[in-house]
Symmetry: D2
Subunit: 302 residues, 4 copies
């Protein structure tokens, strides 16, 4: 039914858009937990086999999603619960976190475009310790154990002329962190998930929805150290919005949608390079940056 290839960076949505029967395919396990009082839903999708990866259109690995309808709204206590849960999940997925690690946190995206500024925002506000530990030792922090945290904001290709991967790889080879954590703004399929969802994965970042261009992937394979990615959907492709609305409507009217969709596709040409975002995106990005920043600071404190 999906003759139009809809883009989503969320494993959760990739699974939702699979045919009913395909969902039970071997190689993809799903666990879900819902906390009623806080309306926080935690979903863990593990793609365990190549078949599962093919069916999902995503690489093998673990994808944890935190969803909360009020994530971007101004209730500080509630955010503490989300950032607390996020920190817990991060400590589970970061390898060897019980040892002293050197962790490089990378904020992808363009700081001048509101919906793309999540990564730079998080890194701008993170507690950075690497230079202090190198200069003064652990003593400066009054702790027995301490991670060395560094931060990098590589910028976008239109402004650097370089792939983010080239920049990150160069700095990784020079400063040799044990693990890289990448923060990025994602594209979702549903507007309901915009700024309401955080995805953590140990598969890194695959430009172009995991399809094609692996030259620029920011993954463990590419960088030579484990890569954890934290992503938040902040935009929906404009073409996705239209094709979804259309599909919904066709289904309601009981019509056969396939034929017309091709004509629709042609008409969507002008939507190329357009995206949909919420009117409060500036406030919401700040809130979620704060949640992620708090969670990282907490997870990386031994």
């Amino acid at each position: 039914m999906n003759s139009i290839k809809v883009r989503t960076d969320l494993a959760l949505e990739a699974r939702e858009s699979m045919e009913e029967n395909a969902r039970e395919c071997r190689g993809v396990s799903v666990e879900e937990e819902y906390r009623k009082e806080s309306e926080l839903r935690i979903t863990k999708v593990v793609i365990e086999t190549m078949n599962g990866a093919k069916a999902m259109g995503k690489p093998m690995g673990t994808y944890i999603t935190l969803e909360a309808p009020t994530m971007a709204q101004p209730d500080e206590d509630y955010h503490e619960e989300i950032s607390g849960e996020l920190a817990k999940q991060l400590r589970k997925i970061i390898p060897d976190i019980e040892k002293e690690l050197s962790v490089m946190v990378v904020g992808l995206g363009n700081r001048e475009v509101t919906a793309d500024a999540l990564g730079p925002n998080v890194v701008d506000n993170l507690t950075i310790t690497r230079h202090m530990v190198k200069e003064y030792g652990k003593a400066a922090f009054n702790k027995k154990q301490i991670h060395m945290v560094s931060g990098l904001i590589p910028g976008v290709m239109a402004k650097t002329g370089m792939e983010s991967q080239e920049i990150i790889k160069g700095v990784v080879e020079k400063t040799k962190p044990d693990v890289v954590i990448v923060i990025d703004a994602l594209a979702a399929r549903s507007t309901k998930r915009l700024n309401r969802t955080i995805q953590i994965t140990n598969t890194g970042i695959h430009p172009g929805s995991g399809v094609g261009n692996h030259r620029n992937a920011i993954t463990g394979e590419a960088l030579g150290v484990p890569v954890i990615a934290i992503g938040v959907p902040t935009v929906v492709d404009a073409a996705t919005i239209v094709s979804d609305a259309f599909e919904k409507m066709m289904r309601q009217s009981g019509e056969e949608p396939l034929e017309i969709q091709d004509e629709l596709l042609a008409g969507l040409g002008e939507l190329y390079n357009m995206y949909v975002t919420g009117k409060d995106v500036d406030y919401e990005i700040k809130q979620i940056s704060h949640i992620i920043c708090t969670a990282l600071n907490s997870a990386l404190e031994i």
Copy 2:
């Protein structure tokens, strides 16, 4: 046919969406000029009667539109032509510009939201003279005649708790400019016009597409001095995108769209407060802010 009310702030688009026959209604005159070598199209719509205003859904007055496909692209010579033409049109529409005027330029919008930052950007970079003229006289500028230019960035209601109109009105009553020029980011109906179109009008700004809420209008009537508005469409409502794509498709397939549209409408609920914008919006807004700023500086130099 328009059972879905589509929002546009452009008189040009309001006219396009009228029924073929209705376009020839009395009370609306249209003049168009096209400059082949520069691809610059200038359209002047004058709504002369109450009937025309009703048919168009816009107040009586003059609406001049400059359209150029490459407006937001980096060719400096070309921008000079656009800003030169804009300056010329501004000098025609600002009343009594041959006399010495006190001109207040107001930048509406939220400087932290890329697509809404046009107004603040323009005012931030404008040549401001009022305080110099008041302090040192015209002598400071080596000119016989000089306008006093002041600038105001009132902010948005969510951050001020006040209507922009209240703030502007208060400052107008205190500093008594002869004319107010308001810059604002607009909503268009077509993505083709995003960041490619500048509209000048002597009707001011009417929140909510001129329908309803006149309490907050920023108009000559409200402020007590003439108001010229300069607007650039930087977003399209997400619901508009969907309903337009749908209408186009239905027309192509020869179907009767009316019935299904109601169902569609319900499905669009989640698009409320969502907008569509281009991926290069940050760069494009800067380019167009620069064009408008250059044009204002030139038009306001005697």
Copy 3:
């Protein structure tokens, strides 16, 4: 001894620079409180008579200063103590705060100059309620009593062409708040106080250290409603630094400084329009903006 007129916006420093004997002048009362565990010093200077005002070079009124050496450093619990104390002092000095008030908070200064961005930073992050109360009533907040809080960032004269006073006065007359709270970055005399001190006063803002130009004062007299000013010294005039270092040195060497100072003055000409600020000013301004913002939100919540 002070042949060089040293500028300070702090009543505390004005008093310190008075001759020993003059300090006991009638008309100026001083109370001091020191909290050992938190190193927080609270000083209340009340100028009660015209004579006192003349001796101090400051208008009659109350000046409360909170000083803490670690104010700009990253210890969140400690900041809670400072913002809590600030909130307490604000509730004492804001007239009729036990009633429902309409409060306009004004952020003076230039948001693009780090050391001058304190005011805009505070207002940018304040909880604004006026528009919500006007639209939905108190019910929206689940409270019996609620203040209507509005926020204004007037900008600086070089960018607006208008005095801040003109803009504020216009908006005050239009929106009729019961009290105005003005936030501003101040000049101190001592680098030790930079970003370590918060002054609250019920005398408003007097451009040029209360000397001269009353046309532009932002005071109760000028605006017609009580004005509370919150200020933080973020810069020291470069000339002040030099003349203070010089005076200190002369005193140590037992020399008679008067004669030479005149020659020094001439040499300081090139320091005109120069100021001294700390290397961490960007981080420190953010910290203190956050303290003031938290205190205001707390003080204005009934």
Copy 4:
């Protein structure tokens, strides 16, 4: 006479502060050119020997200084002359510029501190071509020859936890540019030179005034490719201001300054980490960023 070590990053000032007779030391050649009508002064200092380097406290190499009193003021035609001259000097000092080069432009400094944001500002606005040339070839630019320009903004150690040198070196080794151009804000000795002077040198950047810490130098030796540095003095150390004013005064009064200076030094302790900058620093940095950006775009266009 210089018992207080005064910091300057300008070779020009280093030479001025040498003893009269020392100036004629072998190994330092100076050429000066003054253009009366444009008030532009161009000075070329070449340190040719190790003795010269020792006497100057700067590494061997070429230092070209452009000085113009109105550099930061708003006269666009004049800036064209400065940026034109800067482009000419850059084409002389960049090795092999007549061939096709891969050039990496690095903007050092902290974009959130006005006086330190010069480097990030320049790179933010530069024409970047590397990714276009790699993707589409020279054809995309309609030129026979084209340089590949990339841009990097590494951030400051307090925010990255890494030395700028580590980041740059990593990216250089990965993307292999033929030459690196580094932009940085400098410290001057005299307030007269603030934002009025541009220095170009082929010696790169030596943290701590070329004394000590070579671990972090950004030089040809460190990076393995030629490094051209472009610097503008935007601050003066507060201690420098005081000690200079003092020295001047002592000289005028005919006293012997040495003894007292030691006491002065102690009194300057609190000036540590304080700097002096002009009140219009935000506007001036923008102007000079624009001049350098224009010059680089022009110099790097074959």
